[in-house]
């Protein structure tokens, strides 16, 4: 076991919303070819058959309105380029522009789905990606929307769901929070505030209210040294009035929310951990996105261990059932710890050998293995999921080598 793992007491996961790897981090490949981003020549055909290349012109807001489709049939089109479901069809990542056209009905606007940020636009995410560990092969768990993908982060499965519908847990599989609490460990979900609340409502908020707290409590727990062993943070999901007549901006980065506000939120989570020296040295922070939000990524999602469920065609919205045996589109994922060597790139499916595949079932899988010695009823999918704490090494990086975010800017 490494020194970093020996000292690890806390795992914190911040799950953002609806941005693809290439959109947020693809521009990093120019400076570091190990990062599996964009060459600038990746393209999709538009609805008129014209070739549309990726463009480094992503904007913080107003560019992806209407919200790009990220429900199962739309993502199927994005991944398979419009080939009808059936044996032998191959994923080609060629249907993003066509799919966005179905929403915009505007050829030029449909090209916006190929936009990506230059690294200077995202100083927080790109700093973390280049200073700590970035995953080339972290995928959303399902080629579908938020709720079912987030379920994989909480339970290691979505219990057969591929959409946003309400579902009830009928299997003896507990959420990672319940597993931890039952084993006399500590765990919390921190939602931003009561106006934003949580996306995990029907099963957890209703039945396990004691595992929830607000983001201000997270800050207090970081300052006071009372952070639980496992924490999951939800950003603010909507614009709403703040206390004293102020304005609270959505920080989830879901289109069409302001991406810069999400940057500031990620920085504030990082700073809260970073500014408590004892906590900083004993915490691993994973920043990850729930799904790609319909935005272009060039990497074909790989197959995965089926988790024993099947979504029928009536639920997938395609002519085909889904056996949860392939992953969704790739998303940004970064692991932060002072025990991670600067510039770590975790190779993914692009590697000829040794590439590693991650998805959201890796989160409860890693937490269960580390804190509970793997002792919990789990799906086969979660049991087979990769874990990520081996990235923590023996060397504690000096404070002068670790970035700090200045949020006081105008």
């Amino acid at each position: 076991m490494s020194v970093g793992l020996d000292n690890l007491k806390h795992i914190v996961v911040l799950m953002m919303e609806n941005r693809s790897f290439d959109h947020m981090l693809g521009g990093l490949m120019k400076a570091n070819p190990k990062i599996n981003g964009l060459t600038g020549n990746e393209s999709n055909p538009d609805s008129q058959g014209a070739i549309v290349k990726v463009q480094p012109n992503a904007q913080f807001q107003s560019q992806l309105d209407p919200d790009p489709d990220h429900h199962f049939p739309g993502v199927d089109l994005q991944i398979f380029g419009g080939a009808a479901p059936g044996p032998g069809r191959k994923a080609n990542m060629m249907g993003f522009v066509k799919d966005y056209f179905t929403q915009t009905n505007d050829v030029n606007r449909s090209h916006n789905i190929m936009s990506y940020f230059t690294p200077d636009k995202l100083p927080v995410l790109t700093t973390l990606a280049t200073q700590f560990a970035v995953f080339n092969g972290w995928f959303s768990s399902i080629p579908g929307p938020t709720i079912c993908n987030r379920a994989f982060a909480h339970y290691g499965t979505s219990f057969g769901q591929v959409g946003m519908d309400i579902f009830y847990i009928k299997d003896p599989i507990l959420s990672i929070y319940e597993r931890m609490v039952q084993a006399e460990h500590t765990a919390k979900i921190y939602y931003y505030d009561q106006q934003s609340s949580t996306m995990e409502i029907v099963n957890l908020l209703k039945n396990q209210p004691q595992i929830f707290a607000t983001y201000s409590q997270f800050i207090g727990d970081c300052n006071g040294g009372t952070l639980p062993e496992y924490s999951f943070i939800e950003p603010c999901y909507n614009d709403h009035p703040g206390p004293g007549g102020g304005q609270v901006l959505a920080s989830d980065q879901h289109p069409d929310h302001n991406v810069q506000e999400g940057e500031r939120f990620i920085a504030s989570v990082y700073n809260a951990i970073r500014t408590n020296p004892a906590l900083w040295q004993s915490t691993a922070l994973l920043v990850v996105y729930d799904e790609h939000g319909g935005i272009y990524d060039h990497v074909v999602p790989p197959s995965c261990t089926a988790d024993g469920y099947c979504a029928e065609p009536t639920n997938t919205g395609t002519s085909e059932a889904f056996n949860f045996d392939r992953l969704g589109v790739r998303v940004p994922a970064i692991l932060v710890s002072p025990y991670i060597p600067k510039g770590t790139v975790v190779s993914g499916p692009e590697a000829a050998a040794g590439g590693r595949i991650f998805e959201h079932a890796c989160i409860p899988g890693t937490v269960t293995n580390f804190f509970l010695n793997g002792d919990a009823k789990r799906t086969v999918r979660e049991k087979n999921a990769s874990t990520f704490l081996d990235l923590l090494g023996d060397q504690l990086r000096p404070d002068s080598d670790i970035p700090f975010f200045n949020l006081g800017g105008s």
Binding site: F60, T146, V202, F212, H240, N258, Q260
Partner: protein, 84 residues
């Protein structure tokens, strides 16, 4: 702690970004449906518990079961802001 060489400046969001009149997307609409469903479940449980006449509870087992259910309902309301 932070030194000038390792401090990264993070710009503030554009002041005009705030728009509470932005149409709610599918995710937020779904969130409200889920909350409503959870509230209905609460209501059903509340109605069921309120239908029990406490005078009908004769044994400690009866009483403890009632207390358990009633406390669980009240506990879930503990997240409300404190009264001023």
């Amino acid at each position: 702690m932070a030194t000038p060489t390792n401090a990264i400046f993070v710009p503030k969001s554009h002041p005009g970004s705030y728009n509470k009149d932005r149409p709610a997307g599918k995710l937020l609409q779904s969130q409200t449906l889920h909350l409503r469903e959870a509230l209905i479940q609460h209501l059903q449980e509340l109605v069921t518990v309120l239908a029990i006449d406490p005078k009908s509870l004769k044994t400690e087992g009866d009483v403890s079961a009632y207390i358990h259910r009633a406390t669980a309902i009240l506990h879930t309301h503990s997240a409300r802001p404190p009264r001023k």
